[in-house]
Subunit: 432 residues, 2 copies
Amino acid sequence: MNNHIKVGMLGIGNIGKGTYLALEMNHDKILDTTGFDIEIVRILNRSPEKDRGIDIPKEKYTPDVREILEDPEIDIVVELIGGIEPATEYMAEAIRNGKSVVTANKAAIAANGKYLAELAQEHHVLLRFEAAVAGGIPILTSLTTALLSNRFSEVHGILNGTTNYILTQMSEYGKDYDEVLKDAQRKGFAEADPTADVEGLDAANKLSILISLIFGMGIAPDKIPTQGITSIGLEDINYAKEAGYSIKLLASAKESDGKMSCSVEPTMLRKNHPIASVSNEFNAVFVKGNAVDNLMFYGRGAGPLPTGSAVLGDIIGIARKLGKASAYDIVPQLRYDAKLELNVDAESKYYVRMTVAERPGVLGKITTLFGYYDISVEAIQQKAPYESNGERVATLIFILFEVGRSKLKYALDEALKLDTTKSIDNIIRVEE
Amino acid sequence: MNNHIKVGMLGIGNIGKGTYLALEMNHDKILDTTGFDIEIVRILNRSPEKDRGIDIPKEKYTPDVREILEDPEIDIVVELIGGIEPATEYMAEAIRNGKSVVTANKAAIAANGKYLAELAQEHHVLLRFEAAVAGGIPILTSLTTALLSNRFSEVHGILNGTTNYILTQMSEYGKDYDEVLKDAQRKGFAEADPTADVEGLDAANKLSILISLIFGMGIAPDKIPTQGITSIGLEDINYAKEAGYSIKLLASAKESDGKMSCSVEPTMLRKNHPIASVSNEFNAVFVKGNAVDNLMFYGRGAGPLPTGSAVLGDIIGIARKLGKASAYDIVPQLRYDAKLELNVDAESKYYVRMTVAERPGVLGKITTLFGYYDISVEAIQQKAPYESNGERVATLIFILFEVGRSKLKYALDEALKLDTTKSIDNIIRVEE
């Protein structure tokens, strides 16, 4: 059973629930792909009576953190309490007891990452925190594996979903800050006390971690020049739009000539910058490496399941380093044994362009024919007719609702047999 | 010296040169971060007299592939010849001789990945091919590490830079296919014989690899329904634009109800889809996981250095698995020892919004003051004046050229002392 990975989890809030659910959903896939049988064996929960809307066997709960930190059976402790203390002390205690640690806690890592990293090194255990920066986006893993061969000169991120949601809604619907904030709070995208988000402190914690990773430089979050979004008015947003910019709360760090500059602040970005079009609660991280050049990651920076995905990724990464079941790791990528059927006739919307004789009744013939094949038409456009080989012809463009490829082909073969159809000029799939 | 990783490279074309250069640029960073001293000790080059525009010691070259495949000193063979044979046979031979293999060869992996993977497993060596799909974008590494805890239901990619460049140029400049193709060939974005790119075959190879990774299903590239871009006319592109779509050569695979559908074909994508705004030679891969939800990677899918970055990432990954210098791996991420200075006054363009009395000469006073501080003005906009506290006031918006934060602050403090200045309403950094 050396591929049985026993996890103790501190905290069962949103991220804890997301991690538990993501493991329930994908336990078998992970086992199948890596050989690791991951189990969350114990969960710190000081209010076990509280209904958390998730079905977890009561016997996994303990109100006593010692039962996790000191359990010799537990391989990995996942810290999801949040805040600097007691989270840091719990992680340190787990490390001292020979356990590897996974955390989603940006504040604790930004404040005490150096201390915890050195402690882990001393005790020959591992420390991972992918979920602490940009939620489900695998930025830390990528920077420290596939992209490690680069020197990076800059990083820019939309690292806070709440503020990006607010700025997007202000820009798209012309609503002012207070109105959008209240709406975000109702929808659960902003907390009752939104200070850490809207003042940029959350993003500064994450940027501090990225700076350490990318530039090898320690800078405390409160030393990063930080400006929130509370002063952004509709005047600013409208001016930016007119001038071809988007305003984003950007966390940035740049190096040049041995100097590193950084900030978290509202920034006008040209509309054609890949980050400018990242909207609502989505996050993005843009880096520029000296080999890989420009690279951007886009995804969900928060939410129970996306963050749970990152926590589980770290657990798997640690299990691999622990050398358990490593035979599965030689070529984990390629598999050919799925019991999937190939669907050669998946349905899709389609765009069809054809040339027809410009005569009364032509359109009716074709739409009747589509109807016969049970193909619905979403839109039709007829372009100005022109002369071709002594005959008046016109271009017809159809957008067709979902239809299988082969049925569409039969129908268009029939359409081509009509004496009024000159040619089928193009067929392009449409993806919403 | 067990952290000295000796690499033999087959081929010194564009990717070979990029890998060599990327290693030259970043050898010390890799050594410093991982403890691995990576050296390319031998390079297969059958025309050593040909000037390749890169300074490589002649003694590294060999015209004899045996001198690499059979050299017991070489740990890792990097295959960069391209094409299915003899590349596959060389890789197989390297594996049989106990060497791990890195390749950028999508055709060989799509055709023979299963054979090579099983051979590697049998011989307890590793096989990696991050560079074979989407160049420098770390999609394969992410799917098999940080994202491994997900089941994926769909993948969509712009996996070919040549065709994306052509479609972008057609759309942006209204040029037709033949004209843009010739232009792309002149600029080196398209090959003399562009068939593999424009007919979608290159993308089909890459999609076949992604399908194996994501769905565990083997499908030969020539079994993927594939349609190129040669039939796309300006009529189609213009219609798409009017209707709010972009046409992209999309490689897609979706799973639902135990059926997998896939294709490489021109596809109309709604403008607000994150892939729709990926332009020119850039690539992107979009995946949807059951925990992480929507995720997109964007970057350079080709080019010597970006592809070299991926090859080096694989070499480092293999070195780690080989268990060399693994002490460095415990917490490789956080470092705080960089000799960087913190630049608290980096220069940037700024947007400044202020309220001033609407009187002749006000604008002159402020611009004179900016001039005194050597701050240049890119643009000024005055909004319609209005009444405030019995006085006519107006909003002034300035876009200022690069200036340091503290100098800007001094200047604005002075501007606020003018009796005509009512308030400085907002200061926002501008990033081009």
